[in-house]
């Protein structure tokens, strides 16, 4: 780093979605919901009424100090406030809208604070580390978010130095004491819709069997039905209440079969390809069990579900381990800090050294292989991962993004995440490191990076924009809704009272926020208006999205010709980019301990076949070569093609922040809609084509919501 070293950079627009600068003045400014308790220091009475008005129920202001937000141009004067829930920078004259109680731009949830630095002159101290007291009055503090955001505030001189010191110490203390409690309880929100009860969520939350049934119909999965066997979470707490099983399998058989899988996570349908093949996911076989013949038949019938050819995919094969992902993410964060020790000319190897991009590409590669298997080869694929809660979700969502144009719409993507991650029981709380448990691994963030790569490579195929991904990325660190605050659907489904008792178990002796305010059970992360204003939400739409890739036109609904009659019940294993035949699906028939040993899989052998392409895959000859179906994306995953998500990871380095080609397309889009608007005004009668061509962002928004 040659000449940036000495100052930390001084410029840049933030990469956060630009907020609306002027909030409309709200009629009332009274501190309606602030609980002014005795804990409030007398000096905080000096705070303007409107500063305090943004407080949430149960929120207490611990300290505040006037300051100037740096790193942005122009520098923004305002107030740095530390409460028991978050750190907020409130610009002068900015008023928090009641509709968006959390600001994506100015709020840092306490638990999001990854590093805190206090600067005075040339000395620089890292706080938040045990035994690192603040020995001087800070001139400036830098808050590094775990979501790669940076808040840099310079305090004003002139008699207010003690306040600067107090607010800094308050942040350190609040974060240390409060993080776990608050994180688990969530920031209580008073959302108007919450009390009315019957609010329709923006995205089907898949908590009712109707949602599942509707989704099943949409996919055209005729051979499948919604099973209600887990309605009371007695099969597995990590499974959703409802899931899809083969139509002819009875619930008793389901129960029988699921018992032989790790944590009761038996095979369930993820996605039905209109060509007839299915994508299933399941946990590892529970090797210690001793199934009888009936059980094995049930397991096999569920895995095969009417297909002669089934490909078993060992999900974790060739993918990083959870610990790898965590380590890579830590390294990436270290590298992307503004004072990263990597020199400019060593940047590339430092980036390579994080392994993060390597992991991204291996995920993409595997997903692309599997989507070819499912769509072009029309084979049913079973994703098998021991826990079935991490990489299975990642792969199955990526495969669907690659193969189903519908999943690339805003609504489609949100329901995909809701289904494959939230409902499927991805342990968000643990994986995002909120509980402080050792099993932190940001698999979901890895997934978002993969999606971003796809967005880069296929800019016209996705309805959502990079900003949307960024918003989703940042929401993972905002403890406002239950979506990312629970490990299992069971915990998420618990209501009010039960929930409170749970926290008590978790953190005995902590004071509880009032029950009525604590749960935002009806809100999900998809309620974007909690955190983003409508202008920001408009930016979720990709201006380059090509409506020609509309969901209906991509594939004929049923293509029976795809189904090539093969030898009965052939079972294959897909591993290391090649297929090998398996003798049987279940490991128990001959040798009970088969699955435990990976050597049960045949060594990778070249199977003779006519087609050279198939030799690459080790495909049996009778499968034949199929052309790539339309709508399938084959991502590039080579070194030069996998890129760093700079707008996300380099947000803390203001000198590197710059939107590049993005404005070109959106600028044109603006001009286009402006011209269309003009034309529309001038022409009294409009032909229907003109209407359909008009792509006003507002119309798109209202359609998708």
């Amino acid at each position: 780093v040659w000449w940036w070293k000495c100052g930390g950079g001084g410029r840049g627009q933030s990469f956060n979605i630009a907020p609306q600068k002027e909030e409309p003045e709200m009629g009332h400014s009274g501190p309606k919901c602030v609980q002014r308790t005795g804990m409030l220091e007398p000096r905080s009475q000096q705070l303007d009424g409107h500063v305090a008005s943004g407080c949430l129920p149960g929120e207490q202001i611990l300290a505040w100090a006037p300051g100037v937000r740096k790193g942005l141009e122009p520098e923004l004067p305002g107030t740095l406030i530390c409460t028991n829930l978050r750190v907020t920078f409130q610009p002068c004259g900015w008023q928090r809208s009641q509709e968006t109680p959390l600001s994506s731009e100015y709020d840092f949830a306490l638990v999001n604070i990854g590093r805190l630095e206090a600067v005075s002159g040339l000395s620089r101290v890292q706080l938040l580390r045990p035994g690192s007291p603040l020995k001087f009055i800070p001139e400036e503090i830098l808050i590094h978010g775990r979501d790669f955001r940076l808040l840099r505030v310079a305090f004003e001189a002139g008699g207010l130095e003690p306040q600067a010191f107090q607010v800094t110490m308050a942040i350190v203390q609040a974060r240390a004491q409060n993080s776990q409690v608050q994180q688990y309880a969530g920031i209580p929100l008073s959302k108007a819709g919450q009390s009315t009860g019957s609010r329709k969520p923006p995205v089907p939350l898949l908590e009712t069997s109707e949602d599942w049934e509707a989704e099943r119909k949409k996919q055209g999965a005729r051979g499948w039905r919604v099973s209600t066997i887990n309605e009371r979470f007695d099969i597995a707490t990590s499974l959703p209440r409802y899931f899809w099983v083969p139509k002819r399998t009875l619930d008793s058989e389901v129960r029988r079969a699921f018992g032989h899988f790790h944590q009761g996570r038996g095979p369930r349908l993820s996605w039905h390809h209109p060509g007839g093949s299915d994508l299933l996911r399941c946990g590892g076989f529970y090797t210690a069990s001793d199934p009888n013949k009936e059980d094995i038949r049930a397991v096999e019938s569920m895995l095969q579900a009417g297909h002669s050819d089934v490909v078993l995919v060992d999900t974790v094969d060739e993918l990083p381990s959870l610990a790898d992902v965590q380590l890579a993410h830590l390294r990436l964060r270290a590298l992307c800090l503004p004072d990263s020790s990597a020199a400019e000319e060593k940047w590339l190897s430092a980036l390579e050294g994080t392994r993060w991009l390597d992991y991204v590409r291996s995920c993409l590669r595997k997903a692309s292989d599997i989507s070819v298997l499912v769509t072009s080869r029309v084979r049913s694929v079973v994703l098998q991962e021991r826990g079935d809660r991490d990489f299975n979700g990642l792969l199955s969502s990526l495969v669907q993004l690659l193969s189903v144009p519908e999943a690339r719409t805003l609504l489609g993507f949100q329901s995909l995440v809701q289904r494959e991650w939230v409902a499927a029981g991805h342990p968000f709380l643990t994986r995002l490191g909120v509980t402080g448990a050792s099993e932190e691994a940001p698999v979901f963030l890895l997934f978002l990076d993969c999606v971003w790569q796809l967005l880069q490579q296929f800019p016209a195929e996705f309805e959502f924009s990079e900003f949307f991904l960024l918003a989703l990325h940042d929401s993972a660190r905002v403890p406002d809704t239950l979506t990312f605050l629970r490990d299992t659907p069971w915990e998420r489904g618990k209501q009010g009272g039960q929930f409170n008792s749970y926290t008590q178990i978790y953190n005995p002796g902590c004071c509880q926020p009032p029950a009525g305010n604590s749960v935002n059970s009806q809100l999900s992360v998809w309620d974007w208006d909690l955190r983003y204003n409508s202008e920001q939400i408009l930016q979720f739409h990709n201006p380059g999205y090509d409506p020609e890739h509309c969901p209906d036109s991509w594939l004929p609904r049923q293509q029976p010709s795809f189904m090539v009659p093969g030898p009965p019940s052939s079972v294959w294993l897909f591993s290391r980019g090649a297929l090998t035949p398996l003798n049987q699906l279940c490991p128990w028939r001959d040798n009970p301990s088969l699955l435990a040993v990976s050597s049960r899989w045949l060594p990778r052998a070249a199977i003779s076949s006519e087609s050279l392409a198939d030799q690459e895959w080790g495909l049996p000859s009778h499968w034949g070569a199929c052309p790539l179906p339309p709508g399938l994306l084959l991502p590039g995953y080579l070194g030069p093609q996998i890129r760093l998500w700079r707008r996300c990871y380099l947000r803390g380095r203001p000198e590197v922040q710059k939107g590049l080609s993005a404005p070109t397309i959106s600028g044109l889009q603006d001009e286009l809609s402006h011209l269309q608007e003009l034309l529309r005004k001038w022409t009294p009668r409009i032909s229907p084509e003109d209407h359909s061509k008009k792509r006003d962002p507002n119309t798109i928004l209202s359609q998708s919501r």
Binding site: R129, A176, L330, E345, K346, D358, P459, E548, S661, L675
Partner: protein
């Protein structure tokens, strides 16, 4: 609102053709329909092109897979190109002909484009040169535009193998005389439409008028004058016939040291500061009298240009404090190896270490240093109001690079296509960059081959990539321009100096080639001291960076403050030069690697989307313009060029690649072996302990 002109460069991608200034225009030799119908493919020769040798039943491997599939055909070598004519012509479809290069077919390699030739003997790859005792069974040709061809000669008659291999080697590798360049046979045979094309407004700077025009344009005419003292190259063969010098400079000084030591005007800034360049005076050993003379001469010159009305002059010595040509040569030869892929397996093997390999070539770092130097000079001109004098031994390599980069950054006119072409004409062609030697067109000295011009294009590409709306042209234009360096039907890039070109034309090619050109440049390449130079240079540079803090503070402030303001695309333009911002020019370097293609996506998709939207904007604008004339005048919808065409690949618009759906295996197992965790241990606990607080 984005005006038409700003993004208009997108149009440049529509019709890829050699768009650089051509003195002689390529003619369309063949029509596409003919080619499709004819069973036997015939060789199409340009006017003046002669067939030298040929071989039949040669197998050209399909490069994308390692399974040795291929097409049979005829391999021919003419005095212009090596061409492969496939027997099976069915691969040609309509889409492909749409993007066809008018001169160079898909399987054509111009002789100047050949970089290395390898032969495979019993599975062993060897470089081929000189007289061969044994003839290879496989021929691998690496091209300078980074294509790789594999030809199998196993099924070819021995006679023919001998003839074709030695023919190819001789015609691509043996030193050649200037007069033997194909350029001249072509020029003699083809009709010469020298620069009469009315659309062509590129300023050629070969008349006094052109220089005066440029002086007027930049408002430099107050302090600088165009002189014609070198008309007929009486003063110096290195300099162009006309150039610009400070007004008070006496004319007799110009001829004193054959144009050395004279500050030549490059460009004037809006505030009156000028960018000047000067070639250093020749160093004469043990001649005190002469060096005394030189000294007093230089003092006189400096006195002239230091006096008002001239601003203070800051001298930038590019030959001692900056990159050496050898650095550039070494870096590029390492860098290009990353893209010259013999087979897929090799590619996948190196892919895993892509970033570190890229970094170790230090090509990107060289780009960064060039950009940084240009920013420094821009800062002097723009913020400090001083004149900058670039000094180099011959003022024809890094001087050209730095001065034209500065002009691209500071002068929006240079970001239009015509302006850019005029810039290249002014700084590179008239600036006397020795294209002949630097591209090694005559194969006379590999040591002189340094891709300085390509480095310049790559630097410009970084700017185009970072600020696309600021440029009238696209990256495709730059790629095509870089390709035309090796197509000897344009005379632009085939001479060492304007004198050489004019002379050769005047004397009907009858001159024997003068060797004098290479001697003054010898200083760059002293073999025995190569490693010394490199080490010393490294140390010197690091010292430089650490010292002169004040300079760097100024620079940083200038850089930061520019980047903190919204970008004015019609004003000063600075690149980002941080580590993550310098990128690989993927279109040029990766386009021939099938594995690197993204079907239906990538940059091609963005560009096509842009074009589509621009067309729609234009259509609507026309509609609005047409309104007062009548309601019913609805224009017919223009057929969109790209919509519905086959899936675009990164090869677009150079070819449409048909790629097999199969995928090779990526050895990801390499991870485990690659990394050690300990270097991160420190950083790691910094973060891990956060959770436990």
């Amino acid at each position: 609102m984005l005006g038409k002109g700003v993004v208009g460069g997108g149009g440049g991608t529509k019709a890829p053709k050699p768009s650089f200034v051509s003195y002689v225009r390529p003619e369309e030799i063949h029509t596409n329909e003919k080619e499709v119908t004819e069973k036997e493919v015939t060789l199409h020769l340009l006017p003046g092109e002669q067939l030298l040798c040929e071989a039949s039943t040669v197998l050209k491997y399909v490069q994308e897979d390692s399974c040795q599939r291929g097409i049979y055909g005829k391999l021919v070598c003419t005095d212009f190109k090596i061409a492969f004519l496939g027997d099976d012509d069915s691969a040609l479809d309509n889409d492909e002909t749409q993007f066809k290069n008018k001169v160079i077919g898909e399987n054509d390699i111009t002789l100047h484009c050949v970089d290395q030739i390898y032969g495979v003997f019993d599975e062993k790859k060897k470089t081929l040169f000189g007289q061969l005792k044994k003839y290879p069974e496989k021929l691998i040709i690496h091209c300078k535009d980074l294509r790789v061809f594999h030809f199998c000669l196993r099924y070819t008659k021995e006679e023919e193998v001998k003839r074709i291999v030695s023919g190819i080697i001789h015609h691509t590798q043996a030193p050649k005389l200037l007069k033997r360049l194909f350029l001249f046979s072509y020029a003699a045979a083809a009709q010469n439409h020298a620069a009469t094309d009315p659309r062509n407004h590129t300023v050629m700077f070969d008349t006094l008028k052109d220089w005066c025009w440029e002086l007027e344009r930049t408002k430099g005419s107050v302090k600088y004058k165009a002189v014609s003292v070198n008309e007929g190259y009486k003063v110096c063969e290195r300099l162009p016939a006309y150039f610009v010098v400070p007004t008070p400079l006496p004319e007799e000084d110009l001829s004193r040291f054959q144009g050395h030591g004279i500050p030549l005007w490059c460009w004037s800034c809006h505030n009156g500061c000028a960018l000047l360049k000067m070639s250093a005076l020749p160093k004469k050993e043990q001649d005190d009298g002469l060096s005394q003379m030189q000294k007093s001469f230089l003092d006189g010159i400096y006195k002239t240009i230091h006096r008002p009305p001239y601003e203070i002059v800051k001298t930038e010595d590019l030959s001692s404090n900056f990159l050496s040509l050898q650095d550039i040569q070494t870096a590029y030869s390492k860098f290009k190896q990353l893209f010259l892929i013999d087979n897929s397996t090799e590619f996948w093997d190196t892919d895993i270490k892509w970033f570190s390999l890229l970094e170790s070539s230090s090509w990107l770092d060289i780009i960064r240093r060039c950009l940084k130097k240009a920013i420094e000079i821009t800062e002097c001109l723009e913020a400090q109001n001083v004149n900058v004098l670039l000094l180099e031994e011959n003022a024809s390599d890094l001087c050209c690079l730095v001065s034209s980069l500065v002009q691209v950054m500071m002068d929006p006119h240079c970001r239009t296509r015509i302006g850019f072409q005029s810039l290249v004409q002014k700084e590179w062609i008239m600036g006397g960059h020795s294209f002949l030697d630097r591209c090694n067109h005559l194969r006379q000295s590999d040591k002189e081959e340094v891709p300085v011009f390509l480095l310049f294009l790559d630097c410009v590409w970084q700017l185009v990539h970072q600020h696309p709306p600021a440029f009238d042209f696209t990256e495709t234009y730059l790629t095509v321009l870089s390709d035309s360096l090796y197509i000897p039907i344009f005379s632009t890039f085939f001479f060492n100096s304007p004198h050489q070109k004019d002379n050769v034309h005047q004397r009907q090619l009858s001159l024997p080639l003068t060797q004098s050109k290479s001697s003054p440049k010898r200083g760059f390449f002293r073999e025995e001291t190569d490693h010394l130079i490199k080490n010393l240079l490294g140390k010197r540079i690091s010292k430089l960076i650490n010292s002169s803090d004040e300079l760097h503070d100024n620079l940083r402030e200038f850089y930061d403050s520019w980047h903190s303001k919204p970008t004015d695309y019609h004003g000063l333009l600075l690149p980002h030069i941080e580590g993550p911002e310098i990128k690989v020019w993927a279109q040029r370097y990766l386009r021939w690697i099938p594995e690197a293609q993204i079907l239906g996506g990538g940059r091609a998709a963005t560009v096509s989307k842009l074009l589509e939207m621009m067309e729609e904007v234009e259509r609507l604008q026309e509609k609005i313009d047409a309104r007062p004339h009548g309601q019913g005048a609805l224009l017919a919808e223009a057929p969109l060029l790209l919509r519905g065409s086959a899936r675009l690949s990164a090869l677009f618009p150079f070819a449409l690649l048909q790629r097999h759906p199969s995928k090779p295996v990526l050895p990801t197992s390499g991870w485990k072996a690659l990394g050690d965790e300990e270097d991160l241990a420190k950083r790691e606990d910094e973060f891990v302990d956060l959770g436990d607080v």
